[in-house]
């Protein structure tokens, strides 16, 4: 499904990722573990073509990914370290007017908010939510997209135990539907996901 061969990435002539190769099949989860600054976020952004200074081969379903054909971005969902939420919009407005185009019925939106325990906060401004609750707003979008690949930067950070369980449950549900996950983190999660260390 996703195949990365000899990926190199540079920042101001400094090598961030060097000869990185891995593959990810349908229904698989791969965790990229590394310390701060080891290039986890850079890797996700490079795969999506957001970083220009990179070399190597990225293939999606056997086809070469280029900046022009956008075959990876059209079938993936990216949740970065910055969650792309607007403090002056309510939870529901943030999802409805998401920069990542989502198309869904209102029932589905309410259901996804219920899954992340935010239904009672649907009309609250995002600026009034805690960091963990903001993260849950972003996680609620996972069920509202038809993406095949989820690129999630530190999905467990800022979440309490209940939040961890919600995320793990959603990942299980989505991989059962055939979706794949590329996650980043500082340490390996308790789940039996595939993992590799960047540093």
């Amino acid at each position: 499904m996703l195949e990365v061969n000899n990926l190199n990435c540079f920042r101001s002539n400094e090598s961030i990722l060097s000869d990185l190769s891995f593959s990810l099949d349908r229904g698989e989860v791969l965790e990229i573990i590394g310390t701060n600054g080891s290039g986890k976020t850079t890797l996700l952004r490079t795969l999506l073509g957001l970083i220009k200074e990179s070399q190597g081969e990225i293939k999606w379903n056997g086809n070469l990914v280029t900046r022009e054909n956008q075959i990876l971005t059209s079938e993936s969902f990216y949740q970065g370290h910055s969650l792309a939420l607007k403090g002056r919009l309510t939870v529901i407005e943030n999802i409805y007017l998401s920069a990542h185009p989502l198309n869904f019925e209102t029932d589905k939106l309410l259901e996804s908010l219920e899954r992340v325990n935010l239904l009672n906060k649907k009309d609250v401004l995002v600026s009034e939510l805690s960091v963990g609750q903001k993260k849950r707003v972003s996680i609620a979008k996972w069920l509202l997209t038809d993406a095949q690949l989820y690129l999630i930067d530190e999905p467990f950070s800022a979440l309490d135990d209940q939040g961890h369980k919600v995320v793990e449950g959603l990942i299980k549900e989505l991989i059962n539907r055939g979706c794949s996950f590329l996650l980043t983190g500082h340490r390996k999660s308790k789940e039996e996901y595939g993992a590799f260390h960047l540093d």
Binding site: L50, A84, R88, H100
Partner: protein
């Protein structure tokens, strides 16, 4: 799951930017108040000689409009850059220059359209003939739209840096707009032929809109890397 049409995506982007601006009053009040302060202080400082005020009115109105539009340059892309929205726009698989045109248009609705209304107060302050109002309004609509596109380009080039840098980038490019807008209003006050200036401004807008949007998209891509 059905895909959203491009029109729906563009409409939602416009709706989002307008809703955020509506809840952040400073985004439209700051340029408006600045514009009004400049217009008010000029007659107070210079005196009430009607013919002299008439002569300086177009220049004053246009300089006030130009400086007011520069005040909001920083807010155009910096917030989207800092909160990750810009990344999401780039990977949304939509024509990025169209998204930028919508963002600039919403920016103009937030900062430019209040200036249009406030310019009517300028007409009273400077005792301008009512026959010049239409030309003043049309020239300001075209001119402030061009200034919004130029501001977007300046904002993209100075992404993550200060507003001063964007102002330095935008100001030289805005001189032709200032000259044409002032000339159109002056000609209308003197009741001489002025439509050619408006056609020039219109032509500039249609040239600037696609080219600046594409250049802005590329500048954003490079600077958000």
């Amino acid at each position: 799951m059905n895909k959203l049409s491009l029109t729906s995506i563009l409409f939602r982007l416009l709706q989002k930017d307008l809703l955020i601006a509506y809840r952040k009053t400073s985004s439209y009040l700051t340029p408006l108040i600045f514009f009004l302060v400049v217009l008010t202080f000029f007659p107070l400082a210079i005196g009430s000689d009607s013919s002299f005020l008439n002569r300086i009115a177009p220049g004053t109105l246009w300089i006030a409009a130009l400086l007011s539009s520069l005040l909001a340059v920083e807010s155009l892309f910096n917030e989207d850059f800092n909160d990750g929205t810009l990344d999401q726009l780039f990977i949304s698989n939509q024509p990025i220059f169209l998204l930028i045109i919508v963002k600039v248009f919403s920016h103009w609705m937030i900062t430019g359209s209040p200036i249009l209304l406030a310019s009517m107060i300028g007409v009273i302050f400077f005792d301008l003939p009512t026959s010049s109002i239409f030309t003043l309004l049309v020239s300001l609509i075209l001119g402030t739209l061009i200034l919004s596109f130029l501001s977007a380009f300046g904002g993209a080039l100075s992404l993550g840096k200060g507003a001063i840098l964007s102002a330095i980038i935008v100001l030289p490019f805005s001189i032709p707009v200032l000259l044409l807008g002032t000339a159109a209003t002056n000609a209308a006050i003197q009741e001489i032929e002025h439509s050619s200036y408006l056609f020039f401004l219109g032509a500039m807008l249609f040239i600037v809109m696609p080219f600046i949007s594409i250049a802005t998209a590329e500048a954003l891509r490079i600077n958000s890397d």
